[in-house]
Amino acid sequence: MTRYTLSRLLQGLVAMWVIVTIVFFLARLGGDAAALLAPPDATPEQIAAIRLSYGFDQPLHLQYVDYLRGIVTLDFGQSVSYRQPVVDLVIPAMVNTARLALAAFVIALVLGVTFGAIAGVRAGTRYDQAVRGLSVLGQSVPPFWLGMLLVLLFSINLGWLPAFGSEGFTSLILPACALAAFPLASIARLTRSSVLEIVARDQTLFERSKGVGPATLMSHILRNASLPVVTLAGIQLGAMFSGTIVVENLFAWPGVGQLAIQGIQARDFALIQGIVVVNTFVFVALLFVVDLSYGWLDPRVRAVKSAVKSKVGANVEAAA
């Protein structure tokens, strides 16, 4: 298990390194990096000063080492639009984003697994058809438009919930629901097909013939069906951290997405770079946790992880 954990950790670090490197070269290939970091109204002298203070006049490999050192020590430089260290801006925003993403994730996971499992057990019934239809619909409606419809209904027409802001629990409900729809739909679809597959196996028939009660049977089916669902859920949770951007924008939620859009408008590249790095870190960390949870859910993974993983990947692709 230790070896498995270490190899996963190493893979995560490599993935992070690749992305961080891509960002580094994208910024330098796009022309004058100092001009990117400078405020839009900077004079040539100011740009020259920035070039000097960031070391843009140095050879590329030295810059790269400096850049990596900054990331490891959580030093992303200074935001030119806020005149504060980037870290101090990104971390509180990330906490807000995490609140929203986790709330949406809980909704998506609980409802998605419930609906999907019932649809899988009762395949072919009207309930199953409804779940399948709604999940295709849920994967087709973009979250920002769904959010607008929710605001139109619950804020403007019914007046039950606030249309924007981040005050209190009620303001979390609409953005979380808008964000949850897509992952909910895909989790429901995958759970359904996964449960369907387990139900068709001999082990389920055997348990039934032994007289195992419905609750126990269901828990066995769910545990067996959970592996692909966990993979998908992990990917969806990671995707949500960036999917929040549009929803945050719509609901004026003070998260990373809002910060990134402000960063673009102010041409604050240090801020954007910091956001991308922190976001990537969260994503890679989540995938790492997901990988570890396989080992916990299914002891076979520890032994023959590569074989099982490729199968899981195929299932996820087939259902996504």
Partner: protein, 299 residues
């Protein structure tokens, strides 16, 4: 064609490459009427939207501002109403379809081509190159689309080309991953080995046997990517980092419309319905295509 030939993965004796997508014609059962029709309408508007538009989509006419659609008490001159500047919503919708169509087509064609190329390279070379390409694809998939767009827009500025580029960068690994395993599966099948035995070169095997047999998978992936591309264009334009206004795109219309949720509901609702319907149709069509082309479910 005899049934024995039909069930073979390809007809090695035939002079031309196999065309597995012809299975669609022979497939009995339900036809995708709804999704097919919507996709056809979308393609038509994507090609000729600005030609059939009843008004100039950018013509500002403040005296006609915020007229409701005809079914909500508006006039037949403006079937779907007008926006805050008096521009005709239907005309903007039709012109916007061209943007969505262009973005979707560009992202799907270029992304699919790159993905297929990488898949062939990885699937055929094996070894270290395969490992590197697979890792790069995995790492690129970890990079969320919107974040990628933010980085690229921050560096290169906005535009339709940038939107397409972002989507291509986001989409190629998806094709590459799935097609790589397809390539490996096909190239190890007996009919490909036979073609080598009979003296066919590697290039022959790739162009005549492997690539044509990946087409069904490629088609399914591409159809499902259409929906994602349309949503992505909408999201980016909605955030103000996609297609630059005042160009009519569905995302721009939604971004404008959000300010009129309480006063002119049709401005946010109409483009959203068009967008969601198109994506829904693309997803349903992709699902149908997958089942229809999958030899395992073929009867």
């Amino acid at each position: 064609m005899s049934s024995a030939l039909e069930s073979a993965p390809s007809s090695p004796a035939a002079g031309r490459p196999p065309r597995p997508w012809l299975r669609l014609r022979r497939r009995p059962g339900r036809r995708p009427w709804f999704s097919g029709t919507v996709m056809a309408i979308f393609a038509f508007c994507g090609l000729f939207g600005s030609v059939v538009a009843p008004h100039d989509p950018d013509k500002v006419n403040l005296s006609q501002a915020l007229k409701p659609p005809v079914f909500a008490g508006g006039t037949p001159t403006y079937l779907l109403g007008t926006d805050q500047l008096g521009r005709d919503v239907l005309s903007r919708l039709l012109t916007g379809a061209q943007v969505s169509f262009l973005v979707a087509a560009g992202a799907v064609l270029i992304g699919g081509a790159i993905g297929l190329l990488v898949a062939l390279l990885a699937g055929y070379s094996g070894g270290r190159l395969d490992a590197v390409l697979t890792r790069v694809a995995d790492a690129s998939m970890a990079f969320p689309v919107v974040l990628l767009a933010i980085v690229i827009v921050a560096i290169y500025g906005k535009g339709v080309t940038v939107v397409i580029a972002v989507l291509v960068v986001a989409a190629w690994p998806q094709y590459a991953r799935v097609l790589r395993s397809e390539v490996i599966r096909i190239r190890t099948q007996e009919f490909v080995t036979m073609s080598r035995v009979m003296g066919g070169g590697r290039f022959w095997a790739i162009t005549r046997h492997v690539v044509p047999n990946t087409i069904p998978t490629l088609l399914v992936l591409a159809t499902l990517q259409i929906g994602l591309a349309i949503i992505a264009e909408g999201s980016l334009s909605f955030l103000g980092i996609g297609v630059p206004p005042p160009a009519a795109s569905w995302g721009n219309m939604l971004a404008d419309g959000r300010n009129f949720l309480a006063t002119a509901w049709w401005l946010p609702v109409v483009p959203g319905v068009a967008l969601s319907l198109t994506v829904l149709a693309a997803n349903l069509f992709g699902d149908w295509l997958r089942q229809a082309l999958d030899p395992a479910t073929r009867r």
